[in-house]
Amino acid sequence: MDRSVHLNNAIMRFGEFTAVEKMDLKIESGEFFSFLGPSGCGKTTILNMISGFLEPSEGGVYIGDQSMAGVPANKRPTSMIFQNLALFPLMTVAENIEFGLEVRGVSKAERKKTSDRLLELVALEGSGEKKVSELSGGQKQRIAIARALAVEPQVLLLDEPLSALDLKLRQHMRTELKEIQRKTGITFIYITHDQGEALTMSDRVAVMSAGKLQQVADPITLYREPETAFVASFVGENNAIPCRVLESSEGYAVVDAGSLGSLVGRIKRPIMPSVSATLFVRPEGLKLGCEGEFTLSATLAEVNFEGSYLTLTASLANQQVVAIQLRANQYNEAMIAGSALTLSFDRQDAIVIAGEANDV
């Protein structure tokens, strides 16, 4: 079955405001696809266009190869898990799960069978007669998943469903969602502003900013090869060093970083000399000591112990603050605020992107 979703040059405007700019994107059948971006970037609008709560101002939405133009929300093969879950509080757990089937005129016996099966899938056997208010946050979450799966959708839309849960539960639910997706083969479209969620669960991630797609890639590519300054600074931690390009060739660019001297980083495509750019080095790409190709002298400002690793905050010669991530066992007593540090990095670990990082 073709469960792909195609946004065919879809645009969404609200009066003067363009919430989603022209977007042409194909989400593959059975893919776990995430839209990642800060709040207000238009990702929820995309979900509403796919589910039928909004009709695109221009362009269209296709599910499988069916155009969804003019198909109302209750006739689309999608189901949604809402941020606040939106379980029906006046119905029992089983009635909630069976609602979509009840609407379709499925017999009571048949409905019961489905809700029992789904309760088992989400590991809540025998909770069918409970009231929604008797469930814990994590249990409600699972019921919302079961309710959405009961109608056997081709596409499951998830609108930041884990944001209300505590950390441990959130991590657990990530694994579970991924597991359910694998078992059912349904296309999952996941909306989040939490990059951890997007990176751990997704086959591909679309990073969005101000209604525009920044980059669509698998999580590893997104992290290692960001294409825009926004992606480089939004996905994961990154140290952004403003600079000016001196020359670029063969996948590398030499840049002038003012008082930090000239540095070299990787580039995706050539950048014209004298264009202002940003050199990004991940905190784990900065090494302590001078074994890397390029050295920077810095003053240690803060040491944060975070369990398995250690984050140092230091200011460079030009007063810019950078973060350095070390393994916990690299800690030594000499690391006190105010002490001088020598940092270094290799050109492999730096990326030069045209534009300024605070353009985001």
């Binding site: 709560f53 929300a73 209750n74 006739k75 949604m80 809402f82 939106a86 979509g100 609407v103 959405a148």
Partner: protein, 295 residues
């Protein structure tokens, strides 16, 4: 409860608050009602006979209604018509309340509410009179319907119960809209979206999600509208015809034209009892408790 009040307002103010409520409840509600009960259970006597041998408690005033077929039929017609008014008001109000609470933008909703409220700045008698003019045999409504070709000759709206029903639906619509509006407004809009998303038609979304949530509001609106309709005097007096008398008019006649307060009081209590019975019934049908309504 008193200690809570005391904590918040201090002793003197708390005593004053409680005293005021007590005066209002006892002096203005309970005592007058008790006096009326007392009246209703005594025969109508000349001043000289009060305290005499005939001055004894009796149920004869209550029996009068059941021996007078005309009064009895008006009594039941009043109850039935009030049910009809309540139902019609609900039918008109629910879509409007839903629109205001969930569909309209805040601006539109504010404008609509204003338009609904402004007519109520005019007193009930004047508003009812305007309906008298609109519904008249040679009035604008008939003229319009004739012009549109919907009718061949003017309709006598004011001669049956039609005029009274229309007038009452209009007079009490706010009492229905506001409780329902409040109830629907408190519904999480995602619940409606979720129902739609799971495939529910609009009708089913209302029937399964919106109405169950709004039930206390609907019950409150129905009870208020019914009570006001059953106890209405001005609307039937102005828009009714001799053939569409309301029970309140008969009560009025006993008091002020028959001069028989005892009989009037008995009739008034019978109406009250039926109304309370109706409320209990509505609450049972809608499965709402007093607590839900007070919310």
């Amino acid at each position: 409860m008193f200690s809570q009040l005391k904590q918040r307002f201090g002793s003197p103010l708390s005593v004053a608050i409680v005293a005021l409520i007590a005066v209002w409840l006892i002096g203005l509600v309970i005592l007058p009602q008790l006096i009326m009960v007392n009246y209703s259970l005594k025969p109508n006597l000349l001043p000289g006979e009060i305290g005499g041998v005939q001055d004894q408690y009796t149920l004869s005033n209550y029996a009068t209604l059941f021996n007078n077929t005309i009064h009895l039929s008006i009594f039941f017609k009043t109850i039935w018509s009030s049910v009809l008014v309540t139902f019609l008001t609900l039918v008109v109000s629910y879509p409007l309340a839903f629109y205001l609470a969930k569909v309209a933008t805040p601006r539109q909703a504010a404008l609509c509410l204003l338009l609904l409220i402004i007519p109520f700045w005019i007193n009930e008698i004047l508003r009812t009179f305007s309906w008298y003019i609109i519904l008249a045999y040679k009035g604008p409504l008939n003229a319009l319907l004739l012009e549109l070709g919907l009718i061949n000759r003017p309709v006598r709206f004011l001669s049956g119960d039609g005029g009274v029903l229309i007038g009452m639906v209009y007079a009490y619509i706010l009492f229905m809209i506001f409780p329902i509006y409040n109830a629907i407004e408190s519904l999480d809009s995602n619940q409606i979206k979720a129902a739609r998303n799971l495939g529910a038609s609009w009708l089913r979304t209302h029937y399964r999600v919106v109405i169950p949530h709004a039930k206390p509001g609907i019950a409150t609106g129905c009870i208020m509208t019914f009570m006001l309709a059953a106890g209405s005097y001005a609307v039937p007096a102005l828009l009714g015809s001799p053939g569409s008398r309301w029970f309140t008019q008969i009560i009025y006649n006993w008091f002020f034209e028959g001069g028989d307060w005892n009989q009037g009081a008995a009739y008034a209590f019978l109406l009250l009892i039926i109304c309370i019975g109706f409320i209990a019934l509505v609450m049972k049908v809608f499965k709402v408790g007093l607590g839900d309504i007070a919310r």
